[in-house]
C-alpha cells in the first residue's frame, strides 16, 4: 500500500479528482441557473454531448482548446434553444421536450462521430499552464497549479454566476420566476424573457461541461461519453438548493469517488472493475438517500407560465 503515498501518486489522484469533478460542476451550475428560473432541463445530458462533440471538432480544426470550449458552450446554448422555444414560449411539457433534447443530442453526435472520426479517432493534445512560483510547490504544484487555463476560467465563470444570482436584479428575477412567476409578472418583469435568458445560459454551461469532459478530462470525444453525467448534474442541482458553493462541494465529492475508483484499479487489491465503475453512481445514490429530505425544488419548476391563468 505504500505506493499510495508517493508524490506522483497523490499528484495523479488530485488531477483525476479535478478532472472528474469539473465537467459535473459546470453542468450542474448550468442546471442550477435554469431550475432557479423554473425550467427543468432534462436535456442537459444531450446538451453536454453536443457541447463535447463540437468542442472536439472545433479544437481539432483550430488547434485551440479555448475556441473548442467556446464552440461547445455555444452549441450547448443552441441545442437548449429548442427547449426554450417549445417549453418556455409555447408551454409544452418540459419533461417530454427535455428527454427529446437528450435523445437528439446523443443520437446526432454519435452519428456525426462515427461518420467523421471513427477510423482516425484523433486526440486533442493536452496542454497545461504553469503558474510561476505556485507550480513548484510539491504535490499541489504538479496537480492543482498545473491545470490548463480553462480550469481557472471555469472557476471564475462559476463565481460570476454566483454573483449574478445573488447580487443582481437579474438574479432576483430568476428566483422570482422559479418561485412565483405571477409576482414577477405583476412587478413588471417578464417571466418569458427571464426564463429564456436563464435557460440559454444554462445550455451554455451544459455545453461547457461536455466540452471540459471531452477536451480537458479525456482529450477526446467518444459517443455517449457522459454516461449519465447530465442526470447526475440534475441531482446535484436539487441537492444544492440553488447555492453555487454547494454545487461545487457536491461535485467535488463526486470527483473524489471517480478518482478513488482509479486508485483502486491501480492498487494490488483485487477489486472487480465493474464494481469500481459503479462507485461514483453509488456515491450519488447514497448522497441522495442521506440528503433526500433537504432536496429543494423551486415551487414553479416545470410549470409553464401563462398570464391570467390561475
Amino acid at each position: 500500500m505504500s505506493q499510495l503515498l508517493t508524490h506522483t501518486f497523490i499528484t495523479a489522484f488530485i488531477v483525476a479528482w479535478l478532472a472528474g469533478a469539473m465537467p459535473l460542476m459546470l453542468a450542474a451550475v448550468g442546471e442550477t441557473i435554469g431550475e432557479q428560473s423554473g425550467v427543468l432541463n432534462l436535456g442537459i445530458e444531450g446538451t453536454m454531448l453536443v457541447g463535447g462533440y463540437f468542442s472536439y471538432v472545433a479544437a481539432l480544426h483550430t488547434h485551440s482548446l479555448w475556441l473548442g470550449m467556446l464552440a461547445g458552450g455555444i452549441m450547448g446554448a443552441l441545442l437548449t434553444s429548442v427547449l426554450v422555444i417549445l417549453s418556455v414560449w409555447f408551454g409544452l411539457n418540459q419533461i417530454v421536450i427535455g428527454i427529446a433534447v437528450t435523445l437528439l443530442g446523443g443520437g446526432t453526435t454519435a452519428v456525426l462521430f462515427y461518420s467523421n472520426y471513427s477510423q482516425s479517432t484523433p486526440r486533442v493534445p493536452p496542454a497545461t499552464w504553469n503558474i510561476p512560483g505556485l507550480s513548484d510547490i510539491p504535490i499541489l504544484g504538479k496537480s492543482v497549479f498545473n491545470q490548463h487555463g480553462i480550469f481557472w476560467v471555469s472557476i471564475l465563470l462559476m463565481v460570476v454566476v454566483s454573483w449574478l444570482l445573488t447580487r443582481t436584479n437579474w438574479g432576483l428575477s430568476v428566483k422570482a420566476a422559479g418561485q412565483k412567476p405571477l409576482s414577477l409578472d405583476a412587478a413588471g418583469g417578464s417571466v418569458m424573457r427571464t426564463r429564456s435568458e436563464a435557460e440559454l445560459l444554462a445550455g451554455f454551461f451544459g455545453g461547457l461541461g461536455g466540452a471540459y469532459l471531452a477536451l480537458i478530462a479525456t482529450s477526446a470525444f467518444t459517443p455517449f461519453m457522459t454516461a449519465g453525467l447530465g442526470y447526475i448534474a440534475i441531482i446535484v442541482t436539487m441537492l444544492s438548493r440553488g447555492k453555487i458553493y454547494l454545487v461545487a462541494i457536491v461535485a467535488l465529492i463526486y470527483g473524489l469517488s471517480v478518482a478513488s475508483g482509479t486508485v483502486l484499479q491501480l492498487t494490488a487489491l483485487n477489486v472487480p472493475t465493474d464494481l469500481i465503475s459503479m462507485l461514483p453512481y453509488l456515491v450519488v445514490m447514497a448522497m441522495l438517500l442521506v440528503f433526500a429530505r433537504s432536496v429543494y425544488i423551486p415551487p414553479a419548476l416545470a410549470a409553464p407560465y401563462t398570464r391570467g391563468a390561475r
Partner: protein, 538 residues
Amino acid sequence: MTNTESSPANGGVIRLHEITKAFPGVIANNKVSLELHNAQVHCLLGENGAGKSTLISILAGLQLPDSGTISVDGTPVFIGSPRMAKRLGIGVVHQHSTLVPGLTVLENLMLGEPGFRKREKLAIQRLEELSDLLGARILPKTPAAELGLGQQQQVEIAKAMWTGTRLLILDEPTSMLTPSAIDALGESLTRLTARGLGVVLITHKLREAYKMGDCVTVLRGGRNVAHLSVERMATMDEDSARAEILRAMFGDELADMDDLSEAEEISGATVARREVSRIDFSSAPVKLRLDSVTTGARSMDASITDISLEIRAGEILGIAGIDGHGQTGLAEVVAGQQNAFRGVIELNGADITRLGVRGRQAAGVRYVTDDRLHEGTVANLPVSINLMLKRIGEAPFWRAGQIDKKAVNKEAERLIEEYTIRTPSPATRVGTLSGGNIQKVLLARELGEGSQVVVVNKPTAGLDLKTVRMVHDVLRDFAAGGGSVLLISTEMDELIQLSHRIAVISRGSIVGMVPNDGPDTAERVGAFMIGGAEDGAA
C-alpha cells in the same frame, strides 16, 4: 428613479369608458365606466362574480378589454402589460399575495427594478420613506414568509407604491384583518390620499365601503349599477346610503329576501356576530381529539407541530390564521391523507391514528377540501359518480365489482334534490358546473350517511353570497344535529358567524384558543395572529 416627488396633481383623473370584457360563457364587464380621481378613496362594491376583479386586472395590465377606452388626464392610454400600468403610476395590491415567500422584504420590493446590479442602499432608503408614510415599521431583511398578515399587507402596499404611484388599487384587502388592523389600514389610506394619491378599494363589505370610501360604485353582473358621488355621500346619512347600496347590489333578489337586514347580514354591512348565546359543551361527548399531533411534511402549509385539540358533539371549532400556516396539514392529518408522525387522533374515544382515508371515512370523519376542482372532484366524471367517489365498491351501489347504475343514479338524484345542486342531470360532467354547485356536490358527499366529524377548508372561498349563506346553513344544521365541525377559514367574519370557539394557527401550531362569546372575539383572535410576528401592523 425611486423618487415619488412626481407628486400627482390633485385634479388628475383616470377615466374608464365603456369597458367590456367577455370570457367564454360570461360577460365579466359590460360597458363599465368609471372616473378615478386623485386624492379620493373610490370604493368598488359588488358580489363575487360581479366583475370587480376583472376590471382591476384590466387596469393592472393583466387582461386586455374587448372594447372601451382608458384615459389618463384626458390622454388615451393602452395598458398592455403590468409594466405599462406601472409606468402610468398604477400600483395594485392583489387579493392573493404576490410576495415571493423565499425572498426577503427588500428583495420583494426590488423585484422588477430596472438596472443590472441590485442597489440595496437606495432601496432601504426608499423603504424608510414609505414606512413613514404608511405608519408601519418594516424590517427590510425579514423573509417574506415570516411576516405577519398586517405586515405582509403593508409590504404589498409599499411594493405597489414603490415607483411613485398615482393610483393605488387594493383588491379585497380586509378579509382576514381584525377591526383594529382595518382601522390602521384606513389611517394609512387617509395619509396617502392627503398626499394626492388616488385609491381604489375593492370590497364586498358594505360597512367598510361606507367608512373608508369618499365615493362608491356598485357593480352587479358585470354592469355599473350605481354610483354615489362624493357630494351625495356627504349629504346622505349612513342608513340611507346603506339602503341605496344594498338595492343596487342585490336588485330584484332583494325581494326574495325576508327584509333588508338579511341582505345586510350577508353583505357584511353589519358587524359579524354569532347570534347564538353561549352553549355549554362541557357535558357533550368529545367527538374528535388530537393529542400532540405532528406531521413530517416539508412545506409549511402541509406540516403541523404538536397540535392538541378537542371538538365536542354539536360544536363548530374555527381555525383562524394566515393562509398557508399549516391549515392544509391539519385538515389532511384529520382526514387521514397524511400520516401523523407523532401523536394520537381519537374519534369518540377510539384511536384512529392508524386508520387510512377509507377507514376514517367509514368511521365518520369527512373532509371537504378547499381545492374543489382538483382534489375534491374529478372534472370529467359525471355528477353521480362524483357523489359516490368515496364509496366506490360499496354495496348497494356496487355489486360483485360491478357498478349498479340505477342505484347510483337514484342516490345521486336524492342528494341533488336535498342540496339543491343545479345540474341538468346526474350524468352531467361535474367540471361544467359552477363553483357553488361543485361545492354543494362536495358537501352532499361528505355530510351524508354516517358523518360524525367534518373538516371544511375554506368552504366559501370564491362563492356568491347566496351559496355562502346556504353553506353556512348546512354547516350549522350539521352541528345542531350533533355533528362536529372543524372549520378552517381565512374569512374572519365567517369564523365569527359560525364557530363556538376559534383556534389560531401559526407556523403549524395552535397559538391560541378564543371562545366566541363577545363582540371582542375578532380582536382577541387578531392578537394571537399578530403575536406570530414581532412587529404588528396595528
